[in-house]
């Protein structure tokens, strides 16, 4: 088991290097296609820019260099673990990202956990009652979540739970100025987390529920299910131990691929809920043409996806012992 985990990790790490390099270069070149740069934005905001001051700004941030030189500079800094300096926020990109990273991580992990737990539970219930009324009703609900965009679900959740019912806060990641400590602070944070995480998870709940239902039904036809019944096991145990474990393999595969989408969805949801995360940082960086910050966010996002995929690979190897045995 230990050796298999090590092998999986090593393989993933080796695959990660060219992936990350490709992502950086591609992102950098794509960003060059955007009209305007940081100097334009700063100049237009100050309102009194002259051609000389703009040229000075460009020279200061290295924006007057040829594209290839800029790329080489960026890669050179990166090799020294230096993500560069943000012209917009006037601080090192690393510090900027590290401020926002915990918020995004927390949102992503919570949303993914919500999506997997609710999705698998709903899917199992649907499969167990396939074709009967619990399945029909849940199918409709799941279809709704599948077709509604996350931001709309989020808006409606704000209207219902924050505005009408007043149960949950709708803005930010903590109550500002409350000065809470200890358990009260954790509870406050969690209350702020619920709505954005649910809004982000809603679409994926639908995906996992449908997938779990399909693969649970697929497993029922297998011979080993009859073997389990022939042992006199309780149907609940058969479903839990024999069916679900097999059905989870495709679900985790898809969950791994969804992490990137989840990060993309975070941009919208973070903006909607005023959540201080990387998604919002990325959006602000795009608007300010703050390419070094944006590249940093993109780089870190790709790292997150790669690490998450590594975790999924490990989970896979644990779920299905046939994987990684070859």
């Amino acid at each position: 088991m230990g050796r298999r985990i090590a092998a999986t990790l090593r393989r993933t790490a080796i695959h990660a290097v060219p992936t990350v390099l490709g992502i950086i270069v591609l992102d950098f070149l794509l960003l060059q296609l955007m009209p305007g740069d940081a100097a334009d934005v700063i100049a237009s905001e100050s309102g009194v820019a002259t051609a000389e001051s703009m040229a000075m700004l460009r020279q200061h941030f290295g924006l007057d260099q040829p594209v290839l030189t800029q790329l080489m500079n960026f890669l050179g800094h990166l090799a020294q673990f230096n993500l560069g300096f943000s012209p917009r926020y006037n601080m090192p990109v690393v510090d900027l990202i590290l401020q926002r990273l915990p918020g995004t991580l927390m949102l992503m992990v919570t949303a993914l956990a919500f999506a997997l737990i609710i999705g698998i539970a709903v899917g199992s219930v649907m499969a167990a009652w396939a074709g009967r009324w619990p399945d029909r009703i849940l199918s409709v609900v799941v279809l709704l979540f599948y077709s509604m965009p996350g931001f709309w679900v989020g808006l409606m959740a704000i209207v219902l739970f924050s505005v009408k019912l007043g149960w949950l806060p709708s803005d930010g990641d903590m109550t500002v100025g409350a000065g809470l400590t200890g358990w009260a602070m954790i509870a406050d944070r969690l209350r702020h987390l619920v709505l954005p995480a649910l809004a982000l998870a809603s679409f994926f709940v639908a995906v996992y529920a449908r997938l779990t239902r399909a693969s649970m039904l697929e497993v029922q036809r297998q011979d080993f299910m009859r073997t389990a019944q022939a042992k006199g096991l309780h149907p609940f145990l058969i479903q839990l131990r024999h069916a679900l474990r097999n059905a989870l393999v495709p679900v985790t595969t898809v969950a791994g691929m969804h992490l990137g989408n989840l990060l993309g969805g975070a941009v919208v949801v973070e903006t909607l809920f005023g959540w201080p995360g990387m998604g919002r940082l990325a959006l602000e960086a795009v608007l300010a043409r703050d390419f070094s910050t944006l590249l940093g966010v993109l780089l870190l996002s790709s790292f997150l996806v790669i690490v998450a995929n590594m975790l999924i690979d490990l989970l896979h190897a644990w779920l299905d012992p046939r994987i990684g045995a070859a």
């Binding site: 073997t227 389990a228 019944q229 022939a230 042992k231 096991l233 474990r245």
Partner: protein
Amino acid sequence: MSLLTVDRLSVAFPGHTAVREASFSIAAGETLALVGESGCGKSITAFSVMRLLPSNARIASGRILLDGIDLLSLSEPEMREVRGAKVSLIQQEPMTSLNPVLSIGLQITEVIRRHERLSRKAARARAIELLDLVRIPDAHRRIDDHPHNLSGGMRQRVMIAMAVACRPKLLIADEPTTALDVTTQAQVLDLLDDLRRRLGMAVLLITHDLGVVAQWADRIAVMYAGRIVEEAGIEPFFAQPMHPYSRGLLGARVDVDADEHYSTNRLSEIPGSVGSAAGEAGCSFAPRCPVAESACRQAVPSLLALQDDRAVACPVTIAHEGGPHGAARR
């Protein structure tokens, strides 16, 4: 008294009846071979005994008595006490009948712990003993293996270990060797026979391989199109099959001892196909039968005793042999 009595069992699927009024019995410690071609209802008959039919099938009529208890009258929780403890099942495909994601140790111990109050540790020790019993080398190391680490023959041995774990009185083996190669087949059947003697189990052996039947069964029941057409001891059956279908089956066999492997004569075959009697009244074998008379197409012949422990569902044969033996047996 016999251990298992199946009495006029009929199993219906939507649109057709897979098993029609099948009756047979198995004595304790005996091996009964249930023989027939694919689709004749032999597996469905076997699954009925465990009440593990596909969800669209239902038992239309009949009784299944195990040790005098009617299994069809038991509630589902009561039936779960029977499955795995008194009756157990070995399926055809060892590749797919073990759960690929669970270790074989877990799959064996779960049936032990389901039916007996044993600690995790004691159950594991029992599982290792069982793997030893089915002659898996290095059992204490193999127990944590997953099915994909094992060969087909080994997997079927694990299935056997699982099936005999709680010392059932009846073991149902549904074509246990069909998926294995010939040398492994003999080993697995030898093992089954050995365990049957040692544990005093009865075996219901479902197969379409008459060679297997001749070597390992005590009695044989021949099924055709959902009905049992002949029931006999092994020696009398192979010496003189009574039902025209049985005679056809034995005639279509390649007999190695008679040098038929090297002859250029055509093998005999049974003309027509199973479907030929679809929708017709009377004996379902009549359209293919060389001795059929017009009466055969009128009424379904019932299984009548011909001699002691020998029954056949063919009025022509019975008349030829001098009438039924004593009163109608069933």
